[in-house]
């Protein structure tokens, strides 16, 4: 039996760089950028990367699902923070599922996610597939305009599928439209017209035809055609060549998100599932050194899926970023004077990180089995002054709890890559509190009593040793009126 898609989720960073800001800064050099200066693209905050976005997309995807049911985790990206450290392993620890899943990183092609999806669909499951991308682009390059940062996830397994696989095809070709090597931070790209004529137009339509044939479907049976790509009108041109209905071509979200690389096919799939009806047939194409074509059919289960933020919710959670300089600085694209306070050694003792992973990565606290007090960190002796029982605590998960601000400040003295550093005491519903960094906040809108949710974020970059350490931070809860 073939597995189907059981759930989907997405994450898009809150900051949306206005393309006009890129143009204003750079058209003196490249006037052609004016043509791309419409809409906005998602950009990571300073404390986000593909790992943190993957955790958020996975949490969104797993809404209402027992995490113990997940047995496999695949993480697709070409912009992992670590080259030799299992990035999927960090995500698994953050989701507190590491002890029972097999995890794998999938990389090196823009179709890494669709290929992984096919593998998961054919291989059974239950597998959580996450794709996340944060590609750096040279200043004043077209990529800087068209890229977007984001992540998407699907849960694949043999349960009540919201979309079932009805056919697929793949082909591999060493067609190098762009590449990036180990020692180069940026992509190198060939001419767009050649990529279109020799790449997309020759490689994709035959794979679509084969997938349709295997599914026993006609091109006209496709309701939604998902074709990532930033070349002008590329999806429509392919649809025409493949005989797909003109109306099936899905919006590629270029206007409000940008191209999220490896994550984009899943991002557009999530966006489609948010609108699909029972029986709709969805064709997803991944392109990169060949192509994957996957045909899915939405089932009646789709309407029963518990509500989630998804693509729509995350697109609505946005803050316009009009400062091109801030974008450069938080993406390390310009050497900014960070001041001597930034020079503090940020070394992470790896033995301590491992020993404390329950707190640091999974954000587990303790629950006293004697008095019931919920507390974080978990400790040998209960913090309740009327209890103080020894060795009485069992692990207690805090990551999905809501908390309220007890006290806060916006600090302009301490070093932060994006000042002011906002933080405060957060008191969790049901017990426990912690002084936490805030993220994705507007300093002037903070209030005592404001509801916050926890997010897995970058805590520090150890620039001396190239290590990134993560921890949990508090961000305005989606229901909070303070969210902008």
């Amino acid at each position: 039996m073939t597995a189907g898609i059981l759930a989907y989720g997405a994450y898009i960073p809150r900051l949306r760089l206005q393309r006009q800001a890129i143009a204003t800064a750079n058209t003196w050099f490249n006037p052609a950028l004016k043509g791309l200066a419409k809409g906005e693209r998602a950009i990571c905050n300073w404390d986000e990367d593909t790992v943190t976005m993957a955790v958020e997309a996975a949490r969104d995807c797993l809404t209402g699902i027992d995490r113990k049911s997940v047995r496999g985790l695949q993480f697709a990206s070409t912009s992992f923070p670590f080259r030799d450290r299992l990035n999927a392993g960090i995500v698994a620890e953050a989701l507190d599922i590491a002890s029972h899943v097999a995890a794998l990183d999938v990389t090196a092609s823009q179709r890494a996610a669709t290929s992984a999806l096919l593998n998961a669909l054919i291989g059974g499951g239950p597998t959580l597939l996450i794709a996340s991308e944060k590609r750096r682009a040279k200043t004043a390059s077209p990529y800087e305009m068209t890229n977007g940062d984001g992540a998407a996830a699907v849960l694949v397994g043999e349960g009540p599928a919201i979309a079932r696989l009805v056919g697929s095809a793949s082909r591999t070709a060493d067609f190098v439209d762009h590449y990036r090597t180990d020692d180069q931070p940026f992509d190198y790209q060939w001419e767009e017209r050649w990529i279109r004529d020799e790449g997309y137009m020759k490689l994709v339509p035959p794979v679509i035809a084969e997938a349709l044939s295997r599914a026993g479907l006609q091109a006209s049976d496709i309701t939604h055609f998902i074709m990532p790509g930033t070349l002008p009108r590329i999806a429509g041109t392919i649809a025409k060549a493949a005989g797909l209905p003109e109306t099936s071509v899905r919006d590629n979200l270029q206007a409000q998100l940008g191209e999220t690389g490896v994550a984009h096919p899943l991002m557009l799939l999530g966006h489609t599932l948010e609108q699909a009806k029972t029986g709709d047939r969805i064709l997803v194409v991944g392109f990169g050194q060949g192509a994957d074509a996957i045909i899915l059919e939405a089932t009646a289960e789709l309407a029963k899926l518990p509500a989630r933020a998804g693509v729509k919710g995350h697109l609505a959670r946005r803050k316009e970023e009009t400062s091109y300089n801030r974008y450069l600085a938080i993406n390390d694209l310009v050497e900014i004077e960070r001041g001597m306070r930034s020079e503090v050694d940020k070394q992470t003792p790896l033995s301590s990180l491992w020993r404390n992973r329950a707190l640091l990565t999974s954000f587990l606290g303790g629950e006293c089995t004697k008095c019931g007090t919920i507390q974080i960190p978990k400790s040998n002796i209960c913090v309740n002054p009327n209890c103080n029982a020894m060795h009485s605590q069992v692990p207690h998960a805090f990551a999905d709890k809501a908390g309220r601000i007890n006290s806060f400040t916006a600090d302009r003295l301490t070093f932060s890559p994006s000042p002011p550093a906002c933080y405060g005491m957060v008191q969790f519903d049901g017990g426990g509190r912690m002084m936490l960094d805030f993220t994705d906040v507007d300093a002037e809108a903070l209030e005592v009593g404001q509801t916050m949710r926890m997010m897995f974020r970058i805590k520090d970059h150890d620039t001396q040793r190239g290590f990134t350490r993560y921890f949990w931070k508090a961000a305005p809860a989606p229901t909070s009126s303070k969210e902008s």
Binding site: G339, N384, Y423, M434
Partner: protein, 401 residues
């Protein structure tokens, strides 16, 4: 209950260096500057000192670890020298060590020295320092002003105080300290300021502006203590003695248990209660002649007035604005200029405060001398952060008072 320290130990002599940006001085120069004054005041020689305590909190920036730097600087004759550190309460900790040594009979004469040389970092504000391995990975990225600033949000919420009212009271606290510091030749900042200067200054950590924060400086202060009997035998007539020494240390309850509202210091309340009992004080508002509190930030001083049970809860703003804590008010606070004007060389600050109370008791404070004859004075230090800290209290007064 233990009988306590009251009147068991006398201050034989004290000294205090000039505080400030002492670009041309090493830490040992500052220690010797304070020591020479204390030694002359005590009227003894180095060889009469039986034991010594050194307090430094950011020793990596200057002398390094152990008691050795003090022993070398003063050429102490192979006596016990112990270095102590307990956040910003370090200076009072050194004093406590020396006082307890005398009270126990282990030493006839003991010395407490606090020093800090903070101006070799290359930037303003307190030096960045290590917090410990796990803390560095899990604590929020807070600075000292950012941690203390949060008192304001919690206090405002609890007592329904408008932001502009609390900002005004905080500003008055700094204006008052600068008025006092202007009269003190040993203070770092000796300029008078006004409320508009404070309110118009750049923000450091919301709602604290530049003038809500104490300065950072180099300095040293020193005490020589003995028993009242030995003090008399050495020819002292006006004897100043220790009435109480208390320390209260957070156990993680404020940080992790939801019983604390963030608007006050649990430690100050417990330490001051114990100190009043130890000193036999029933009504601190009436009985204390003056106080030196840990005004690292104006908001700290504001809430401390309530935590010391001098202002009633929720009434500190009113007392401050009424001038109750001014030099000519009911209980002068920071009559020497406070941390605000002295800056805060951490290891030295607690001893600097005791130095001022000592001078005031002896009528030696010059143009800033308290007019009503002082009987009892209190010093207060807070180290760490409101949610996790060390509080020290000393009460010093005229012997027999």
């Amino acid at each position: 209950m233990a009988s306590g320290i009251k009147d068991k130990v006398a201050i034989l002599g004290m000294g205090c260096s000039k505080f400030g940006e002492r670009w041309d001085k090493e830490a040992d120069d500052l220690m010797v500057e304070a020591y020479e004054e204390a030694l002359a005041d005590a009227g003894i020689e180095t060889k009469q000192i039986n034991a010594a305590w050194l307090s430094t909190a950011i020793e990596d920036q200057h002398v390094g670890k152990s008691g050795v730097p003090l022993a070398i600087a003063l050429r102490l004759p192979y006596i016990p020298v112990t270095r102590v550190e307990n956040y910003c309460a370090s200076g009072t900790e050194a004093f406590r060590g020396a006082v307890y040594a005398v009270a126990s009979g282990a030493a006839d004469i003991a010395l407490a020295m606090g020093v800090e040389k903070l101006k070799d970092t290359g930037y303003g504000g307190l030096p960045q320092r290590s917090r410990g391995v796990l803390n560095a990975m899990s604590w929020a990225n807070f600075s000292a002003p950012g941690a203390f600033a949060q008192l304001a949000a919690a206090y405002r919420t609890k007592h329904g105080v408008a932001q502009e009212d609390i900002k005004r009271a905080m500003a008055q606290i700094s204006v008052k300290s600068h008025d006092n510091g202007a009269k003190n030749p040993k203070a770092h900042l000796r300029n008078k300021i006004n409320i508009d200067t404070v309110l118009g200054a750049p923000t450091v950590a919301e709602p604290l502006g530049l003038y809500d924060c104490c300065g950072v400086s180099d300095g040293a202060a020193c005490a020589i203590v003995t028993t009242p009997e030995i003090a008399k035998s050495l020819g002292k007539h006006d004897i100043v003695s220790v009435k109480a020494l208390q320390l209260s240390v957070s156990n993680g309850q404020e940080a992790s248990h939801n019983s604390w509202d963030g608007s006050h210091f649990v430690t100050t309340r417990t330490a001051s209660k114990r100190a009043y009992t130890e000193a036999g004080i029933a009504d601190p508002r009436k009985e204390l002649s003056l106080i030196e509190v840990h005004d690292c930030f104006s908001i700290t001083e504001l809430v401390t007035m309530e935590d010391l049970f001098i202002s009633r809860e929720g009434e500190a703003v009113k007392d401050v604005l009424d001038g109750f804590y001014n030099a000519d008010g009911g209980v002068p606070c920071q009559i020497d200029g406070g941390l605000k004007c002295f800056g805060h060389p951490i290891g030295a600050s607690g001893l600097r405060m005791i130095y001022e109370i000592y001078l005031q008791m002896l009528g030696r404070a010059g143009p800033r001398q308290r007019q009503d004859e002082p009987r009892l004075g209190l010093t207060h230090n807070l180290g760490g952060f409101p949610h996790q800290n060390v509080c020290s209290i000393s009460i010093i007064g005229r012997y027999g008072a």
